[in-house]
Symmetry: C2
Subunit: 372 residues, 2 copies
C-alpha cells in the first residue's frame, strides 16, 4: 500500500484580486510568507508522500506555472483540465490515473491553496486518516475519510461536518495519548450556516469545518463514484489506458466536455455510507479572501498586519500589503484591507472581502479585462 497525494490546483481565486489574476491565480501567490500556497502545500507532504507520488490537477493554462512552482513533481504527474468542472471530475481524473498506476493506492486529496500552520500536527492527522482509510472489512474497498477542522469561531463561510462523538473509532488506536487523532463516523454534512446556526454548531462540540481534504483507497472512491456518480465514473474510469499515450489529451478533453459540474461533497460524500472524519486542529484556513489573510497574519497590538512597507496611523484591525519599493499609509480607519498590486490598488472593508469577486466580474464585463 503506497500513499499518493493529489493536489487540486484548478482555481482562479478572483477574490484575491488585485494580486490574483487570470494568468496568476491564488495558489501561485505568496499570500503569507515567502513561498506560494501551492509550494507550502507540497512542502507539508515532506516525509509523508514521495515527490514522485505527488500528482497535481490544474487548468491547462496553469501547467507551466505548476512546473515552475513544483519542480520536484514529475511533469507527467501534472494532469491538465481543459475546463474547470468542480471537484468530482478532478478527483475522478486523478483516481483513474492512480488506479492505472497502482490499483492498491491510497489517495490523499488536498486543495492547493489552503494554509496549515502546524505541519507536524497536520501530518499526524493525515496518518490517522490514512490508517482509517486503509482498514477495511474483508473485500470491501474501504471507507471514505475526510479531515474536519475543530472550529475556533462561528464561521459562516465554511461547510460543516457533524460526527458521531459517541460511536466507534475503529481503525485508530484508542490507547494512545489523549490528543491522538481519532476517526469518527460522519453523521451529516451541513452547508454554510447562518450565524445563529454556526454558533449552535460551535457550541455542540460535534461539528467540524469541512476542509475539503480527503483520504481513501483509490478503489474505494472509484467504487463510490460508480455508485453515486455513475455518469462521471463512466467518463473517467476508462481513461486509465490512455495516460502517457498520445491519446491522453484528447480523451481527457472529451471526458471534461461531457461531464457535469459537480462537487465531490454533493456528488459523493453526502450520499456515501461508510464515511469517516478525523478531527484536527493545526492552524488551518482556506485563505478564502483578504479577510482570511488578515485573520491568520501576525498582527501588532492594534490588530494591524502588514506585508511590505506599511504605516498605520490611528488605525486598527487592518491589513496592508505594499509592493516592493512602495509605501502604504493607512490613516484613521478600522477594519480595512489595502492591497497594492502592479497596476491596481484594492481598498476594502474587511467584512466586504467576498465582494472583491464582483470587482473582477465588473472589470471583465466593462472592457477592463487587462486589470483582471
Amino acid at each position: 500500500m503506497s500513499l499518493y497525494a493529489v493536489i487540486m490546483a484548478g482555481g482562479v481565486g478572483s477574490r484575491f484580486w488585485p494580486r490574483s489574476r487570470r494568468a496568476h491565480p491564488k495558489q501561485f501567490l505568496d499570500v503569507l510568507g515567502p513561498a506560494s500556497l501551492i509550494q507550502n502545500t507540497m512542502g507539508r507532504l515532506q516525509g509523508l508522500v514521495e515527490p514522485e507520488n505527488v500528482f497535481v490537477v490544474t487548468h491547462a493554462d496553469y501547467v507551466e506555472k505548476t512546473k515552475e512552482h513544483l519542480p520536484a513533481v514529475p511533469e507527467a504527474n501534472i494532469l491538465a483540465e481543459p475546463v474547470a468542472k468542480n471537484t468530482a471530475p478532478c478527483i475522478a481524473l486523478a483516481a483513474a490515473r492512480l488506479y492505472a498506476l497502482d490499483p492498491d493506492a491510497t489517495m490523499l486529496v488536498l486543495p492547493a491553496d489552503h494554509l496549515v500552520q502546524n505541519v507536524a500536527r497536520f501530518q499526524e492527522v493525515v496518518r490517522a486518516a490514512v490508517k482509517r482509510a486503509e482498514t477495511r472489512e474483508g473485500d470491501a474497498p474501504g471507507p471514505l475519510v475526510t479531515i474536519g477542522i475543530r472550529p475556533t469561531h462561528p464561521e459562516t463561510g465554511y461547510g460543516y461536518i457533524q460526527f458521531d462523538a459517541d460511536g466507534d473509532t475503529d481503525g485508530v488506536a484508542d490507547d494512545g495519548p489523549a490528543d491522538t487523532p481519532k476517526a469518527h463516523r460522519v453523521r451529516t454534512f451541513a452547508e454554510k450556516p447562518d450565524l445563529a446556526t454556526a454558533e449552535r454548531f460551535l457550541e455542540s462540540g460535534d461539528f467540524l469545518w469541512n476542509s475539503g481534504m480527503f483520504i481513501w483507497r483509490v478503489e474505494a472512491i472509484l467504487d463510490a463514484m460508480e455508485r453515486h456518480l455513475p455518469e462521471v465514473h463512466a467518463l473517467f474510469a476508462p481513461l486509465g489506458e490512455d495516460f502517457g499515450t498520445g491519446r491522453q489529451a484528447g480523451a481527457v478533453a472529451d471526458a471534461y466536455a461531457r461531464t457535469p459540474k459537480v462537487s465531490i461533497d454533493v456528488g459523493i460524500m453526502e450520499k456515501a455510507e461508510d464515511v469517516w472524519v478525523v478531527p484536527g486542529a493545526f492552524g488551518w484556513s482556506d485563505v478564502g479572501d483578504w479577510r482570511a489573510v488578515h485573520s491568520v497574519a501576525e498582527k501588532d497590538e492594534r490588530g494591524n498586519a502588514a506585508e511590505g512597507h506599511a504605516l498605520f496611523h490611528h488605525t486598527s484591525r487592518s491589513y496592508a500589503k505594499a509592493r516592493d519599493g512602495r509605501m502604504v499609509a493607512v490613516v484613521g480607519l478600522q477594519d480595512v484591507v489595502v492591497v497594492d498590486a502592479e497596476d491596481a490598488v484594492l481598498v476594502c472593508h474587511r467584512e466586504s472581502a467576498q465582494k472583491v469577486k464582483d470587482v473582477v466580474d465588473y472589470l471583465g464585463l466593462h472592457g477592463l479585462e487587462h486589470y483582471t
Copy 2:
C-alpha cells in the same frame, strides 16, 4: 494707480502627501483638473492684472518650478525666500519690491494654492476690494482690505472675520444691483473656532471665512507694518535699492535670517484700525487637505469622486485618485480617501485628512525621507 498681484507660493503642503513632496509641493499639483493650483491662481488674474505685474514669492527651492509653471511671469518677478517665515515677511519682501518699482502701486495678495470656481465673481469681488483700497481720505495711505468668504457650513478649519453689517460701505457704489460686492468695516478676526462657535458664526450672518487674500496700496501696508511690526519693516523696507542688483540675494537672505516668524493676520490685520472686508461667494476653498478636495470635486449620486480610473463598489462619500494606467477599487467603505502616487498609496478616513501631515513627519523621522 496700477494693480499688481503677489502670489504667495512658499508652502510645502505636506497634507497632500503622497502627491505633494518636498520637491513638489501642493501649489504645483493638478489637484483638481488639468492645470496646477498655481497656474489656476495665475489664470484667474487674466483681465485683472498684466502678467508683467504679477510677482511670486516662493522658497528658493521652488523658483525653477515656478518658472516652469508660470512662463508668462518675468523671471525677475519671482522672489526667492531662503527660508519660510510665515506671511508677514513674505508680504514685506513683496511690498518693498513693489514700492521700489511703483510707490503708488496697489497690491493684491493671493495664496497660490486655493481654489476658486467662479472666476468672474471672484474678479468682481477683487475689483470692489481694489476700489475700496484705493479710496483714501486726504493724505492717508489708505485702508487694508481683505476678502471674506460667505460661509456655507460651520467649518472649524478656517479663521473667521466679523464685519460691521450695519456700518458704512464707502468706497463702493451702493447703488448697483443687489449682488454688487460691498466693502464693510472689519470688527474682529477670530481664530479657528470649535464646532459650536462655528455654528453660531454661521447663524449670525456677519462672520466670514478668512481667505488670506488681501488688497491694499503698497504704501498702506508699509505704513501699517512700520506701526505694528516695526522690526520686520526695518529689515525689509530698505531692500528697495538692492532689487535687481548683485546685492539682492544677500540682502534678502540677511533679512530672512533676522526676521521673526509672524503671520500678516496676527502681526498686522488684527491690530490695524482701518481694515475692511469685501464678502464674496465664488466657490472658494483653501483645498487644505484631501477632505477639501473631495468636498469640492464633482461627485456621483453616492457622493463619490474619482480622478483617473476608479471603481466604487458598495462605497459612498469617498474620493479616489489613480495614477495613469492604474486602477483603484474601493469596496464596502464610506468616507475614505485613496490617493495612489508613484511610490506610495494613502488610504485615509475623510475626517482624518489633517493627520496625513503626521505621516510625513513620521517618515521624515524614521529614515524614510525618500517617501516625503
